[in-house]
Amino acid sequence: MPIFEVNGRQYEVDEDGFLQDPSIWNEEVAKDFATTEGVTELTDKHWKVIHYLRNYYLQFGIAPMIRKLCKETGFKLNEIYELFPSGPAKGACKLAGLPKPTGCV
C-alpha cells in the first residue's frame, strides 16, 4: 500500500493517492492533500465544497451527484474545476477524504 508523506505526516493512500481510511479525515488532511492537487491556498470557496462533500459522505457513504454538488454549493461545474483542477470526483473528493467512485463514471 503506497504511503503519502507530507509535513512530517504519513497517510496510507491508494494508487491514485486517495486516503485509504476516510474516517481519519480532518481539515489538516485536506490541507496536506491539497499539495498533490495543485491547490496552493484553500479559500472559503474550497472549504464550502469540501465541507459539503464531507457532510454528504457522512450521511450517505458516497459522494453526491455532481449536479447536486453544483446546485447546493452554488458553483458551476467549470468553477469547481477552477477550484480543483482535477475536477469534483478526483480533486475535490480527494481533499475531502472520500473514496474515488468507480463504474461508468
Binding site: 500500500m1 491508494d14 494508487e15 491514485d16 450521511q59 450517505f60 457513504g61 458516497i62 453526491p64 451527484m65 455532481i66 449536479r67 447536486k68 446546485k71 461545474l77 478526483k90 467512485p101 468507480t102 463504474g103 461508468c104 463514471v105
Partner: protein, 541 residues
C-alpha cells in the same frame, strides 16, 4: 487530464512497424498510462474470489499461488469441455488477418498484439501446447508455447487492452467472437487473482449496495428526489418517481451513473419526463439500481448472478416486464446470454406498451425492452408531443454504442428518435457507425484514469470520425446510449476534437417533450438558454 499523457500531435505519431523479433520473443512492458490497476483485496474478499492480495501489474512478483499453472490449465480444460464455442474459436482461426486492422486499439497503438488475431493467438498458443496432439509433440511447428509467468503477464496486459466491443468479429469470415476469447482469458486470469479494480469494485459494490457506485438506498432516494425537484424548477412540472412500488406495471432499470454523474444525469431527467408524459405505471428500485453488468468483464458466473439480481427484483415487485435504460454492456447479456444462462423469465409477461398496445415479441423470452424501443414506438404512434426546435442549439451526431448496436441490433430506433426530437442530425462516415461502430476505447472496465493513454489511443478512430462531422457540418453534440460512453467520451473528445459535447438520446427527448402544464421553457435540461424563438431550416444529412 494527466500530465503524463503526450500531446495529441505526438500521440498521433503511431509506429505501425512490427518489432524486430517475432512476437513470442517480444516481452510485454507495463508502461504507465497503458494498463489498469489491480483489484483491491477487499473487493476480491467481498466476492470470495481467489488470491486477494496487495499487488500491481508493474511489480516484478505478482504473488501468484504456487500451483498457478495447474489452476489455469485445469481452468482451460474445464472451459473447453463446457463451452464448445471456446474450443471452436481456438481451432478454426486461419489467421487470414481480416480482423487485424479493425481493432481501435491496434489502429491507435500500432502494437501488433492488439491485432485481434494475435491477441487471441496469445491464448491459442497455450491451448495448442497443452490440448492438441501436434502442439504436445512438436510445439514449435504447431505454433505452441509453454505457459510461463511472462505469458500470463502478457495475457493480463493485452486481454485488459480489449474492450470486448466485437468490431473485429463483424469482419471475421468464420464469425469468431473475439470478445468471448477475451472473456474466457479474463475468466482464467481471475482464477489466480489477476484482475483489475475498475471491473471488480463495481461488481463488489453491485452486490453490496445494488449498484456499481456503492450508492445506498437512502442515497438513491436522495438523488432521485433531487432530480424531481430540479425538473420542477426547469419545467414547472412535478413528476412522480415511485421507488420499489409493488404491483407497478414496469420495473425501469438504468445504469447507476445516470443518477450520479454528468452528463448522464440529464438523460435521467429525460427518462422521468417521458414516463410522466405518457403516464407510465412504473417503478425504480434501490436494489436493482444498476443496469450495467460488469460480470461480462469478469466471469460467466458473475454475469449470471448480476443478471439474476434484476429479475429477482422484478419478481418480488410483481411487475409485468422491464424497461432498461441507456446502458451498454447489459444488452449483450440480456440478448445473447440470459436465455441459456439464467433461463427465460417465465414469471413475467411479454412487454406490451400500455400507450400504443405494441407487443414487443422479440422480448418474449427476456421480458425486457430497451428504452429506445419504447420511445421510438411512442413516436411512431404519434403519442409524444415534441418540439424539436428546443434542440436547435445542438448539431447532433450519433455514436452507436457497441453492445446495443452489435449485440442487439439497435440501429434504427435511436436514429428515428433523434430525427424526431432534433432538427440537425448528421451521420459519421458509414464504416464508423451502425454494426461497424468504433468503440469509445474505454469499455469493459478499462475506463479508468491510470489507463488514459491507452484509452485515448483506442478512442482515436471514433474521435477521428467525430472530427469529420464537426469540421464538415459543425456538429457540436455526440449522442450515445451507454453510460461508459457518457463518462469516457467527454475527455476523449476534449483531447482529440475540442468543442463537441456528449449527451444521451433521452436528454434530447426530454428537451423536446412538451409537457402538459409546463411553464415556457427558456433553457434546456442543462440549464443552457435555448437557441432561438424563430427556428431555422431543418437540415438532415
Amino acid at each position: 487530464m494527466s500530465e503524463t499523457v503526450p500531446k495529441p500531435d505526438e500521440l498521433v505519431q503511431i509506429d505501425y512497424r512490427p518489432p524486430v523479433r517475432d512476437w513470442m520473443h517480444t516481452p510485454v512492458q507495463f508502461r504507465r498510462g497503458t494498463f489498469c490497476y489491480a483489484a483491491a483485496p477487499k473487493n476480491l474478499k467481498y466476492l470470495e474470489m481467489p488470491n486477494p492480495r496487495d499487488w500491481q501489474p508493474m511489480d516484478e512478483d505478482w504473488k501468484l499461488p504456487e500451483n498457478w499453472r495447474e489452476i489455469i490449465l485445469e481452468g482451460m480444460r474445464e472451459r473447453l469441455e463446457k463451452f464448445r464455442s471456446f474450443r471452436l474459436f481456438m481451432d478454426i482461426c486461419v489467421r487470414c488477418g481480416a480482423c487485424a486492422d479493425k481493432c481501435h486499439f491496434y489502429i491507435g497503438s500500432g502494437d501488433p498484439k492488439n491485432m485481434p488475431v494475435l491477441r487471441a493467438e496469445l491464448l491459442r498458443s497455450v491451448y495448442r501446447r497443452y490440448f492438441t496432439l501436434a502442439g504436445r509433440l512438436a510445439p514449435k511447428l504447431a505454433g505452441a508455447r509453454d505457459l510461463t509467468v511472462d505469458v500470463l503477464k502478457e495475457w493480463f496486459y493485452y486481454f485488459y487492452q480489449c474492450t470486448e466491443c466485437r468490431r473485429c468479429s463483424v469482419f471475421c469470415p468464420y464469425g469468431i467472437d473475439t470478445a468471448e476469447v477475451t472473456m474466457l482469458a479474463r475468466e482464467l486470469l481471475n482464477l489466480v487473482g489477476c484482475n483489475i479494480n475498475w471491473a471488480i469494485e463495481p461488481v463488489a459494490n453491485c452486490f453490496r449496495t445494488g449498484n456499481h457506485l456503492g450508492v445506498q438506498p437512502h442515497g438513491f432516494k436522495d438523488s432521485i428526489e433531487f432530480a424531481v425537484d430540479e425538473l420542477e424548477d426547469l419545467t414547472g412540472v412535478r413528476v412522480e418517481v415511485p421507488i420499489m412500488k409493488k404491483g407497478a406495471e414496469v420495473l425501469f432499470i438504468m445504469p447507476s451513473a445516470d443518477y450520479f454523474a454528468s452528463p448522464h444525469y440529464y438523460t435521467l431527467l429525460g427518462y422521468l419526463l417521458l414516463f410522466h408524459h405518457v403516464g407510465l405505471d412504473y417503478t425504480v428500485s434501490a436494489y436493482a439500481s444498476e443496469g450495467g453488468n460488469f460480470g461480462l468483464f469478469t466471469s460467466h458466473e458473475m454475469i449470471k448472478r448480476l443478471n439474476d439480481k434484476m429479475y429477482r427484483e422484478a419478481r418480488r415487485l410483481k411487475v409485468k416486464y422491464l424497461i432498461g435504460g441507456e446502458c451498454g454492456h447489459m444488452w449483450r447479456v440480456i440478448h445473447q446470454y440470459m436465455d441459456t444462462m439464467n433461463g427465460p423469465a417465465d414469471f413475467l409477461e411479454v412487454p406490451v406498451s400500455p400507450v400504443t398496445g405494441t407487443r414487443f415479441e422479440h422480448a418474449a423470452s427476456t421480458k425486457m425492452i430497451h428504452i429506445c424501443e419504447f420511445t421510438a414506438d411512442l413516436i411512431r404512434h404519434g403519442k409524444l408531443k415534441l418540439d424539436p426546435s428546443r434542440n436547435d442549439h445542438w448539431k447532433v451526431t450519433f455514436h452507436d454504442s457497441c453492445n446495443p448496436a452489435r449485440a442487439m441490433g439497435l440501429l434504427e430506433e435511436p436514429r428515428y428518435i433523434l430525427r424526431n426530437v432534433a432538427r440537425h442530425f448528421y451521420e459519421m462516415p458509414e464504416n464508423t457507425i451502425r454494426e461497424q461502430t468504433f468503440c469509445c476505447g474505454s469499455g469493459s472496465g478499462l475506463g479508468t484514469d491510470e489507463n488514459l493513454e491507452m484509452r485515448l489511443r483506442g478512442g482515436l478512430p471514433r474521435a477521428n470520425a467525430v472530427k469529420y462531422v464537426r469540421d464538415r457540418f459543425g456538429v457540436n453534440l455526440l449522442t450515445c446510449i451507454c453510460a461508459i460512453d457518457k463518462a469516457t467520451l467527454p475527455p476523449l473528445l476534449d483531447y482529440w476534437v475540442p468543442g463537441v459535447e456528449v449527451a444521451g438520446v433521452h436528454e434530447l427527448v426530454g428537451n423536446a417533450l412538451v409537457m402538459e402544464g409546463e411553464k415556457p421553457r427558456t433553457t434546456d435540461l442543462r440549464g443552457q438558454p435555448l437557441a432561438s424563438i424563430q427556428p431555422p431550416e431543418v437540415t438532415h444529412a
